[in-house]
Symmetry: C2
Subunit: 568 residues, 2 copies
Amino acid sequence: MRASQFAINTMKETPAEAEIVSHQLMLRAGMLKKLASGLYTWSPLGLKVLRRVEAIVREEMDAAGALELLMPAVQPAELWEESGRWQQYGPELLRLTDRHGRDFCFGPTHEEVITDYARRELKSYRQLPVNFYQIQTKFRDEIRPRFGVMRAREFVMKDAYSFHADAESLEQTYQLMYTAYSRILERMGLAWRAVVADTGSIGGNASHEFHVLADSGEDAIAYAVDGDYAANVEMAPTFPVDGPRAAPTEAMTEVATPNARTIEDVTAALELPASRTVKTLLVVGSEAPAVALVLRGDHSLNEIKAIKHEAVAEPLTFIDEAEAPKLTGASVGSIGPVGLDTPVIVDFAAAALVDFACGANKNGHHLTGVNWGRDLPEPATADLRDAVAGDRAPGGQGKLDICRGIEVGHVFQLGDKYSRAMNCEVLGEDGKPITPLMGCYGIGVSRIVAAAIEQNFDDRGIRWPQPIAPFTIAIVPIGANKDETVMEKAEAIYADLRARGIEVILDDRGMRPGAAFADWELIGIPLRVVVSPRGLAAGQIEVRRRDAEASEDIAADGLFDWLDAQLA
Amino acid sequence: MRASQFAINTMKETPAEAEIVSHQLMLRAGMLKKLASGLYTWSPLGLKVLRRVEAIVREEMDAAGALELLMPAVQPAELWEESGRWQQYGPELLRLTDRHGRDFCFGPTHEEVITDYARRELKSYRQLPVNFYQIQTKFRDEIRPRFGVMRAREFVMKDAYSFHADAESLEQTYQLMYTAYSRILERMGLAWRAVVADTGSIGGNASHEFHVLADSGEDAIAYAVDGDYAANVEMAPTFPVDGPRAAPTEAMTEVATPNARTIEDVTAALELPASRTVKTLLVVGSEAPAVALVLRGDHSLNEIKAIKHEAVAEPLTFIDEAEAPKLTGASVGSIGPVGLDTPVIVDFAAAALVDFACGANKNGHHLTGVNWGRDLPEPATADLRDAVAGDRAPGGQGKLDICRGIEVGHVFQLGDKYSRAMNCEVLGEDGKPITPLMGCYGIGVSRIVAAAIEQNFDDRGIRWPQPIAPFTIAIVPIGANKDETVMEKAEAIYADLRARGIEVILDDRGMRPGAAFADWELIGIPLRVVVSPRGLAAGQIEVRRRDAEASEDIAADGLFDWLDAQLA
């Protein structure tokens, strides 16, 4: 491709509308143009990346035996009524009415449509297992669309749905998809993690999310430093501390802490680290008016875990400022487990403390040197908190660390949620009808483009991993107006690279070198080749990797060896 | 691909819902599944054809220098208000409202979106010409969707839009697109015609339609037997008859034609062919209360041509049964040009008649042996009718013939209709703003699939042209349960063909030969290879072209030569 023919259109300024790096860089590089809130046109440059992502997804889905089909974007309300989601789904479902007054939606997902397809297409267990997928435009009417294509209203998604005669078959296809997703992200040259996920409102039994790692990611992921384990922080279990507690060394002492309401206030007043204090949270109990949850001052309550505790009433309800003094004699900031007249549940980590500080159940006072089993009973313990870096990983995989990720894929074992609700049946081996089990597997194709940028950029622009770069190499001729052999050489290299099937762009725009280089760095082309009169005179060509500190001069006839080495 | 893994699902019965052959065969072959009125899921088999069509379209658009981008399907009403189409477009425009109450539509076409894109992307004439295209799902809320994907509500279209500094540049790109469309249909192995078309409601200056020829086509096309000329029948001009008229041989005679009201009645009563009679149609004139339009009895009035005549009032208004006698003294069935007290305009062909018959302006009577210049004045002539087979083609291209076609593509010179309405301007060469001229170029990608079937089928099923067939070859092993070398040989051929990059399907379903053959003939695979114990014993393989009368046995080691010959 010649740059003059490719509608390259970069901008220097960072557009005010863009809050995150990927959105800023996609606009600046000219990959996107906003049409309306949450609606974007992919320019020729942007679409090249989207198509490369799509192609890798398609190849791996095909290789895993999934069959591509194409369902309509517009879906009849009747099917959503069968599944119950017409009522359940909120305003994110874009509902519409056709000229005859019939209700439809612009599909955000296709469980209903594929289940309807399957119940008419599949007659026998012999047709199972089968895994259908599509790569298609979807719509989710986000209340506040932002972050460009990271959270657009209209987006491109690969969604797959599998059907099975039994749970073992579902598990097999689930594993195939897990492997396919791993290969997809690996082939794209991205750093990623598969994490154990909550199955959320969609229901079902087993689920993993696939995250592209990036400091700007919305989700915190706890992962094993020495193993494969990873989970959303909320999902990662924590464990009792190994070995016996140390012996107390301090006496329990009441200390005045006037005006200390937060953990920060208390630690400052007591000159103790937060990890030597505990906080006591009062919630409504399932069998008592209140239950006290005790955590280390530096830890966060995990509400999902708390709700699962049998002593805690569902939904989780905190006891407020007005009510707390009636139960404890103190306001919320001064409550502690010593002498408390409610059931007390202590997080594993808080239960391992010695000589710790806590509220004195007396306004403006705390206790220091408190010890379990001496100043108050040995505690009832539980896992109540979010995991943190340094926690023990499950399964003997060493310690956990925390990173941030952007969810780009999700695999679910749906079970029979949709097939049962929609009466999807096939004849089983014994001639009796069975309800197939389903899995579903989604990848945000357009989202991956943005996530890849969040992971790969610097202050000059995007740094595409080579497998999804819009072009692999940019050839920039310099001084072509003074020396005609420059353009001849550039054209010769261009022709050679094209003949080798390499995606190459020839910068024939005649711009100043600095401006041209800035464009290709902003756009993020992995390799750059510069042809100049000075270089040609010396039989040399200047080459540079986008991720290298500097360019280097190599012998002109060594160019292809250098390229082969970069692409290997 | 192995048939057992590809969800092949044919049906013997013709579905009652399908009115036309392509729809029937697509459902029977298992290419489509209806989701709701005008909404279809493309099965893996159907999608394979759709993708092959898409790929050819994309390759030719790229080769013609067009740049692929991707615009949102959902479009804001504001842009349609700027162009004026929010009001003009009827209920075929699927309008919808987002959660914030803002109006949008599901785009049936993208002139507004691309013009908005261009006005923000293009700053200078130096960026022109540029031609953007996309392959995308569109929606048209047809009042009565039918004929399957031929006239679906949701459909896949390739739409392109070009921008130009001047008319010459527009004409160049228009010709490039004309050539690209010709190549696309040629490469697909379809019989087709490019026809001169009316520019219709979209406006603009020049337009061609691309039709796939099929007896079932909705449109009649007049084409030059000895040349390239073709036009929609309504658009083809007719010409004055060459040379002088023959001398009269009969005397004008009044004949009683009681109860003769139609041309058929009159020709039966007079024992004359319709081509020796004229019919006289009274319409409201632009300067007279009525104007008589005179055509040969076997010709049809072309209303578009009639309206363009200066003597005819717009809109075209026929004078009815009640009014006609007041103006002519006779009812509609007995009107004729002799002695008529209104302006008379005579079609070129009617003006060439001698000794013809016409109404006598006296109820129940006609005149025979009528001659222009003797019994009534030499006529004022015009082109008033639809062309018919045997008419002279324009430009010395011999005679016209008529065929039927299915419109699958359309190229337009839009001019500045949208760019002016939407204030799309770029700086011209002289530094002053200019309004770019636009062209637009559409291909119905999903429609081509149906049109290809309408052109290529027989009583056994579809006969795909090889370039768009879902698979090029089906390998059918027979008697594999009795002779294990059959499957070995079939697998070996399968592996060899795949290695050669040929799209092949191996029928590993173990069905009866007759049922298997019927499937592949219904699905329309161009070539079939049968491996059987009997054949193997004789060192032979049975091969058959889908369009051949019978199969043939060839030497097993000559298979690839035979295939190469078929694919050449």
